[in-house]
């Protein structure tokens, strides 16, 4: 009796898990299958016959291709600045006694969700306008950097604080200058953290719609998240064959980036110090 119940709960559990998994997997499956389907459909179906025609059309659209490049510039730019500045700031915040630094960081995190959100759109637009950065990729990158930095610093600080100070002190006593110490000891040890922040920042900028949509005017500077609307009909309905193909292209870099970092770093840490 007990055994039967045990088996039944197990079966029910796995059934439930399978259902949940399927629920989340179906859209992914759709995204992978539909671009190769000559018929645009919202159903998940194996394309027969499979075709590359959709992609050919998408590749022929110069505006959409240019948009992917713009997205890459935005994503990589935002990623580099955010990661670099966050690492240095987190290090400084963790290794010096700034009075009320925890409060400072929490307050900044709170406000940062405003910066990248809708509420501050008008002041941000005005700010960028007066800086003369409207319709420039740099303006968008700066807004994202400002919005992402507090959280990035918060994440990085955890990584920095995980490094025992004796590593740095040992380097200093060994004769290193502070700069050599940072390069040789601190930077390699926080590298996994930098990777986490980098990916997070890239994905954030890559997928963002509202800010570039508002700050960029000319079609040649639009990123992919905005350009996907060029595959809509005049009436405003998506052309499913083309949007799905473009969406797949749009999703690939993030996927590749994640796999690459996971393969290279595996988000593991070097265990080393004896306590």
């Amino acid at each position: 009796m007990r055994l039967v119940r045990l088996v039944l709960t197990r079966v029910a559990f796995y059934l439930f898990v399978t259902l949940v998994a399927a629920f989340f997997a179906l859209p992914m499956l759709w995204l992978v299958l539909t671009p190769f389907n000559p018929r645009g459909t919202l159903a998940v179906e194996i394309p027969s016959p499979a075709t590359m025609a959709n992609f050919r059309l998408v590749f022929a659209n110069a505006f959409a291709m240019r948009a992917l490049l713009n997205s890459a510039i935005l994503g990589i730019g935002g990623m580099l600045i955010t990661t670099l500045v966050a690492t240095l700031a987190a290090y400084a915040l963790s290794r010096t006694d700034v009075p009320g630094r925890d409060f400072l960081i929490y307050a900044l995190i709170l406000f940062s969700s405003v910066v990248t959100g809708t509420a501050a759109m008008v002041p941000i637009f005005l700010l960028i306008f007066y800086l003369g950065l409207i319709d420039t990729l740099l303006g968008v990158i700066l807004v994202f950097t400002g919005g992402l930095l507090p959280t990035a610093i918060f994440i990085m600080r955890d990584f920095v604080e995980g490094i025992p100070r004796s590593y740095e002190e040992s380097a200093l006593v060994s004769g290193a200058t502070p700069r050599q110490m940072f390069q040789d000891v601190v930077a390699p040890l926080v590298q996994p953290g930098m990777m986490v922040v980098a990916i997070w920042a890239f994905v954030h900028v890559w997928g963002a719609f509202l800010i570039p949509f508002i700050l960029l005017r000319s079609p040649t500077s639009m990123p992919a998240s905005v350009a996907i609307y060029s595959f809509y009909t005049e009436a405003g309905t998506p052309i499913i064959t083309l949007t799905s193909s473009y969406a797949l292209l749009f999703a690939l870099p993030v996927l590749v980036l994640y796999l690459l970092v996971n393969w290279r770093y595996g988000f593991r840490f070097f265990g080393g110090i004896k306590r």
């Binding site: 025992p164 004796s166 590593y167 002190e169 040992s170 380097a171 200093l172 006593v173 060994s174 004769g175 290193a176 200058t177 050599q180 040789d184 000891v185 390699p188 040890l189 070097f270 265990g271 080393g272 110090i273 004896k274 306590r275």
Partner: protein, 363 residues
């Protein structure tokens, strides 16, 4: 090689005075131990010498230079940290070679010199490994190798043996002493283990609450502890400290406890010089200067056996005298015949007398 001078050095952290007006001359080439209980300021003193802390007041000299304001890299010192601080992302070769690398030494020469040191410290086969793949003892030797590789003027150790197990610790002790002797580099060694300090050091400074209480050779601090704090800290088991009262007459002098009365007439003049009649004092006597005796002995104290600890070569007996305990060390190794109510005789020549406030007045 260089001497080190601390001149009235004070280091405060907010309200905490970690190092309190410390003046220490450390002689060129000596093995100097800083000994004291946890939190007494040993590590801070070491870091002040290394340049990892800046003194709130006072000056630090290494060799003939005043290094008070200089960063660590300009002091030509080397330090072995308690956790060894081997960089986990570098091989042992890169770890040990790091002080050379930052000095701009070329790769070939680094390899050569690391190889030399590694051979000497018996870690030559481990050079390609990462620190995590080394045992505790090997890590310790790698950390020492990194400290010696650039031939510094001064060696600083912060409890380098406390992470090792008991057997390895004894081995490493011998190895460190031998190494220091070979190299002749001025060494400051921080520890809270009095046996380690006695075994290793040429001279020992005992610290408490940021101050230096006593400086001396191991024998000096063992034989004549200047305060009851030092007496209670050094030796295993530490010195017996028995509160009693002094009776100084015109002719005679006696130390009076609740259950005993020791005749110190032979020391009467010296006692009368510094102490008053009827003053409360503390009697200090090492466990090895107590022996079992008969009731008639003039220096006998009645006691109750509390515990017997045979240690092989010797035997430690714990006795109860009224409310205080007395340790007796017997070098025969044989446990005593009598138990229960016994008499222990005090060797009057080995008696130390402390004021109630703790400082030594006779010994």
């Amino acid at each position: 090689m260089a001497r080190i001078m601390l001149e009235n050095v004070t280091r405060r952290f907010g309200l905490v005075i970690a190092v309190d007006n410390v003046s220490l001359p450390i002689i060129d080439g000596e093995f100097f131990a800083l000994l004291g209980p946890s939190g007494c300021g040993k590590t801070t003193t070491l870091r002040l010498i290394a340049g990892l802390e800046v003194p709130t007041a006072g000056r630090v000299h290494i060799g003939d230079r005043d290094v008070t304001g200089l960063p660590p890299r300009e002091r030509d010192v080397a330090m072995v940290f308690q956790d060894y601080a081997l960089y986990p992302h570098m091989t042992i070769l890169d770890n040990v070679g790091y002080p050379l690398k930052v000095r701009g030494v070329g790769r070939r020469e680094i390899r050569e010199r690391v190889g030399e040191v590694a051979g000497f410290l018996q870690i030559a086969e481990l050079l390609e490994r990462r620190p995590a793949q080394l045992s505790g003892g090997q890590q310790q030797r790698a950390a020492v190798a990194r400290a010696v590789v650039h031939k510094p003027q001064v060696f600083l150790f912060d409890e380098p043996l406390s992470n090792l197990d008991a057997k390895l610790r004894l081995e490493a002790r011998g190895f460190l002493k031998h190494l220091q002797h070979e190299l002749g580099i001025t060494t400051v060694y921080v520890t809270h283990d009095q046996a380690e300090a006695l075994a290793l050091a040429d001279r020992i400074a005992i610290m408490n609450q940021g101050r230096i209480i006593q400086v001396g050779t191991p024998l000096e601090v063992y034989r004549r502890p200047q305060t009851t704090f030092v007496a209670g800290f050094i030796g295993n088991p530490p010195m017996n400290l028995v509160p009693c009262r002094l009776e100084v007459g015109v002719e005679a002098a006696h130390l009076v406890g609740t259950t005993f009365r020791l005749d110190l007439t032979s020391l009467r003049d010296r006692l009368a010089l510094t102490l008053r009649d009827d003053e409360e004092v503390i009697l200090g006597i090492r466990p090895e200067h107590l022996t079992f005796c008969g009731q008639g002995d003039p220096f006998a104290i009645p006691a109750e056996t509390y515990a017997i600890q045979p240690l092989g070569a010797e035997c430690v007996v714990i006795l109860l005298v009224d409310s205080t305990t007395l340790s007796v060390r017997l070098f025969t190794g044989e446990p005593p015949q009598q138990t229960g109510r016994v008499w222990v005789g005090v060797n009057p020549e080995r008696i130390l007398v402390y004021r109630k406030s703790g400082e030594l007045v006779l010994g």
